[in-house]
Amino acid sequence: MADREPTRVGDLTGDAGVTLAGFEANSPGVAGGAPSADPLAEAMAAYQRGEMESFERLWTALSGEVRGYLRALSRDAVVADDLLQETFLQLHRVRHTYQPPRPVRPWVYAIARNVFLMHRRTAFRRSRHESVADDELPEIATPASADALGDRDAVRRALARLSASRREPVVLHHILGLSFKEVGAVLGCSAGAAKVRAFRGLEELRAIMSASGGRP
């Protein structure tokens, strides 16, 4: 399976009847194959030169998906919004560490993940004792096209119940459209390990959805 192709659950599980076509990346420069020039990389290079409009372009292109990623990590919309701003502030502070023409998204997600981990560290005591009841599961961002699955709420609930280590690669690859190599770069593991974790996450997602009566 090509790294960037839209992923189908059936591709990974052998079940052709289940598709995650709705989880294709919805960001520019990813869906529909790799473009010849990465507009995000161009915007980032211009931002490094000091252009405010380029920052706004980056925000427009990335804030939605980074918010979704942070929401998937934190399982809290308010915290995710706070962390989103902190992520972009941090991105601004360390914008010199982006090396053109490397892909921008793994760089941004690595910073976002670090901001989340730093937040979690300070909130560790509180979060350690947090338990989430099934009926008050937090909202995890799913793209509008996830309706193709039939029961969007079931997918969202199932995603929220995935263990963090499984949810993250699923969100990064199947929802946000990062290649396995990029997912590995964000998570600090090899592309192969990222693929295995995403595959296991999908299996767990299917099992949760089957058990809860949602369409697998």
């Binding site: 290079a45 490094q48 030169r49 000091g50 405010m52 920052f55 706004e56 925000w59 427009t60 804030s63 939605g64 918010r67 962390l83 701003q85 902190e86 972009f88 502030l89 941090q90 601004h92 502070r93 360390v94 914008r95 010199h96 560490t97 982006y98 090396q99 053109p100 490397r102 793994p106 760089w107 941004v108 997600y109 690595a110 910073i111 993940r113 670090n114 901001v115 730093m118 937040h119 560290r121 300070t122 909130a123 990029e182 590995g184 770069a185 964000v186 600090g188 593991c189 090899s190 390990a193």
Partner: protein, 223 residues
């Protein structure tokens, strides 16, 4: 443009207040040149001031210069991994970093055993005199460690503990490779306890510096 796709006013103000052109960080390979140059300067300085060990002939050129050269390369490569780790999204995988650290440790043990084996462990140092070797190795490692730390600090390591440990072991291996040319003792206990101990200590220093960086970052995010 809806509310969500607009940059929040407070964020826009913070960015605009500090917006200026910046030069992108050079690739890790080019930054590594600084560490390699530092290592080369240290070799020259230590040999100039301390001189080559008097019993170097008993080791032979392969064990003396060959092992030193390989150890220098391994040490500089570990520093390079630390520099790579300092660029978000560009670091090696955790298993890769662990393997690199393990390889560095294995090479250190191999070099110590080979040296002791070739000379029959003679001459041996009184155990407690080894602290001088350890101290001098740490002093020799400091410039390489500081150069690596400065280059890492100029970037943004998302896993600073790893970057610190890799930099510490790398600088320690560089220092041990150089001190191997000077220290006349060949007994295995001396080499493993004091020489390798210096490397372990430097790894801990790097790890602690990384942990401190993480802690400071977490505090900043909390506020």
């Amino acid at each position: 443009m809806n509310e969500r796709t607009q940059v929040p006013d407070n964020l826009r103000a913070a960015i605009a207040a500090d917006l200026r052109g910046v030069r992108p960080l050079p690739p890790p390979g080019r930054r590594l040149v600084w560490v390699a140059a530092c290592a080369a300067a240290l070799v020259a300085a230590v040999l100039f001031f301390a001189g080559l060990r008097p019993n170097g002939g008993s080791l032979g050129p392969l064990l003396l210069w060959g092992v030193t050269a390989v150890q220098l390369i391994v040490g500089v490569a570990l520093c390079g991994l630390a520099l790579r780790e300092a660029v978000p999204g560009a670091g090696a995988s955790t298993s890769g970093k662990a393997a690199a650290l393990g390889a560095g440790a294995c090479f250190q043990v191999f070099a110590s055993v080979a040296c002791a084996d070739a000379t029959g462990g003679s001459p041996a140092a009184p155990f407690w005199q080894g602290d001088k070797c350890m101290g001098l190795e740490i002093v020799i490692a400091l410039p390489a460690l500081l150069v690596t730390a400065a280059l890492v600090a100029r970037a943004y390591a998302v896993r600073p503990e790893w970057a610190g440990a890799l930099g510490g072991v790398g600088a320690g291996l560089v220092a041990d490779a150089i001190w191997r040319l000077v220290c006349p003792y060949c007994d295995l206990v001396h080499l493993l306890v004091w020489h390798s101990g210096a490397i372990a200590l430097l790894a801990l220093v790097g790890l602690a510096a990384g942990a401190l960086t993480s802690w400071q970052r977490a505090r900043r995010v909390a506020h």
